[in-house]
Subunit: 360 residues, 2 copies
């Protein structure tokens, strides 16, 4: 009996302490703060694309473009506590996503010249409020709050101590490099929004990599190719082999590249092979299919290069996520270990190409 | 209209194909197959400990010991398809766990002398059936099916093709090394059951590391110390700094070590410092607390060593999960990247100590 009373008392004290803490904060809407990682202006602030502008997009593509993948709010504050309120949809928890990556938020703070992880906001329902980090020094801090990778987002507010100040900060990243691709771009398997690979590339390089990952739906449809080409960027990375099949790769790769090239006569276009699926080592059918997709995309790029297309680059995927077979959550999507290995493989090559074109 | 008809038709075909596939398999109960990673026999096969044997265990500890963390079924088959059926509880999805790690299953197959990831079984409800891998070669395969890290498990069955054979296989791991610790041992942040660090240590070394991780509850209570000491093992690893506080570390560490030593006069006892929490770099209060816990555990181990205790070892945690601050899911629990770095740090030291004592 005594034990139960104690548990009830502890719970009451905990919730009291927590409520007091959030109550003691001032919340400011993030609606006027700089939004990092946007492709273009949208009627709904936290959509990635204004899909009404583009005709004939597949419904699933249009829906995925309302997910806030890659978007982050840039602000500065001298508060020693940072909290967030945000709302997501009622969509169900995905079986292959960490809940924080799907619907949570992820705070980074600048430490010297490096962006450093500071805290997450866990998701508990449609509308959430969470203290992300407490007991910090009171100095001015530059912050990036990454939004959910796999959900629509609304009503984002930042909470700070009552006596502290908060204001919008500039976009810390320069230029614009669009990454069109699959769930591996959108961030399935990453443990939190800031761990999606385009976000990691931006923090590591200072270049603005824009996440146009479309989970399961990066199929290079002509209408999507038109949309990608219509987005103004300094370079284009195409990581869209995984969601297709060998025939589609052959049918659609050259059209996608040519469509971009027609609108952007000299922008670097970098095509990535797909990582070899770990399940493909055992599933001979799947293994052969991914191998063929990778061969076919290489054939397409080689053909365009031989025809004389300039500023077109190809990055192969051998051993991209290591050779111990532990780099995925499910045989297909990298875990944070696999993404780290993938970045060690692609990042130096991508940065080298971009720098050569003055993108830095 | 036509599009909707097509979608309905595709869905029907998909479920038909899937149902046919699972229906075409023969399922065998795993109840008589070798169970790897057990501390001791238990009335409920997939519990870790028979908690009725030990007096005074905290209720949360007793409950966590019914989670199947670290358990795996050892079998061999020549089937080219492997499926699984398993039941878990109705407990809610945890906000900081990948659903597959919490409630799913994870298949490894021996490739030469290496255990290699083959496929996962995603969780979709209380009772689940999933094809883990298909289209394999038909040769005899040694398999390990890891069970959920954070749930009770019941009614595990393995599915194979009707014309194929299946049988129990021996425990591939030798000796027994018990790891008592927190959620970091149990596997929070790992993307699937086989990625918990004790499981990775076993596959890498061939030594049987037993997961006695107790999420949030590794507090070295005297009753739990008695239980740990009562389990017969060749060595004991204590990774239980994170769930305590500086005072508890000082009060309880020596008692835990002495209790084990009294029952096991010469077994190596290896004490690990806690990883420094990434949030602790910003949260000065938390950072100072973990630092103090780590200092206090070091003081306790040094004291026992100076008093002459033999076969007691200490592994420090500096830079254990790297220095880019990207190795956790939430500032506390490693992601697969953090676990990989942690293993690079602790594995050579642990294996070296064990080998010196003939444990290999």
């Amino acid at each position: 009996m005594m034990r139960y009373l104690l548990i009830v008392l502890c719970c009451a004290l905990y919730f009291e302490a927590r409520a007091q803490k959030v109550e003691n904060l001032n919340f400011t809407s993030a609606s006027s703060f700089t939004l990092v990682g946007k492709s273009e202006e949208t009627p709904n602030r936290y959509d990635r694309i204004d899909t009404n502008k583009y005709k004939g997009l597949p419904p699933r593509v249009a829906q995925l473009l309302t997910n806030a993948a890659g978007l982050a709010i840039s602000f500065k504050t001298n508060s020693s506590v940072i909290a967030a309120k945000w709302c997501v949809s009622k969509s169900r928890a995905l079986p292959n996503m960490m809940p924080t990556a799907q619907k949570g938020v992820d705070l980074y703070i600048k430490n010297g010249d490096q962006w450093q992880f500071a805290g997450i906001g866990r998701v508990s329902g449609v509308c959430n409020d969470e203290i992300l980090i407490s007991h910090m020094d009171k100095g001015e801090k530059e912050c990036l709050l990454y939004l959910p990778l796999y959900d629509v987002v609304d009503k984002v507010e930042i909470g700070i101590e009552k006596q502290a100040s908060i204001s919008s900060n500039e976009d810390p990243f320069k230029k614009r490099v669009l990454i069109y691709g699959s769930s591996i771009v959108q961030g399935t398997g990453a443990s939190r929004p800031g761990m999606a690979y385009p976000a990691r590339l931006s923090r590591a390089s200072g270049i603005n990599f824009i996440n146009l990952g479309l989970s399961g739906s990066a199929k290079m449809e002509p209408e999507v190719a038109n949309m990608v080409a219509a987005i103004d960027a300094d370079a284009y990375i195409l990581d869209c082999v995984p969601n297709t099949n060998p025939k589609l790769v052959t049918e659609r790769t050259a059209n996608l590249i040519n469509t971009i090239r027609n609108k952007h006569s000299s922008a670097p276009i970098i095509v990535l092979q797909s990582l070899v699926r770990e399940t493909g080592y055992w599933d001979k059918q799947l293994g052969a299919q991914v191998k063929q997709q990778n061969l076919n995309v290489q054939t397409e790029v080689l053909y365009l290069l031989q025809k004389g297309m300039k500023n077109l680059y190809f990055i192969t995927s051998e051993n991209m996520i290591g050779n111990d077979h532990e780099g995925t959550i499910d045989g297909t999507h990298p875990n944070d270990l696999g993404y780290d290995r993938m970045l060690k493989h692609i990042q130096p090559q991508i940065i080298d190409i971009l720098n050569k074109h003055g993108i830095k």
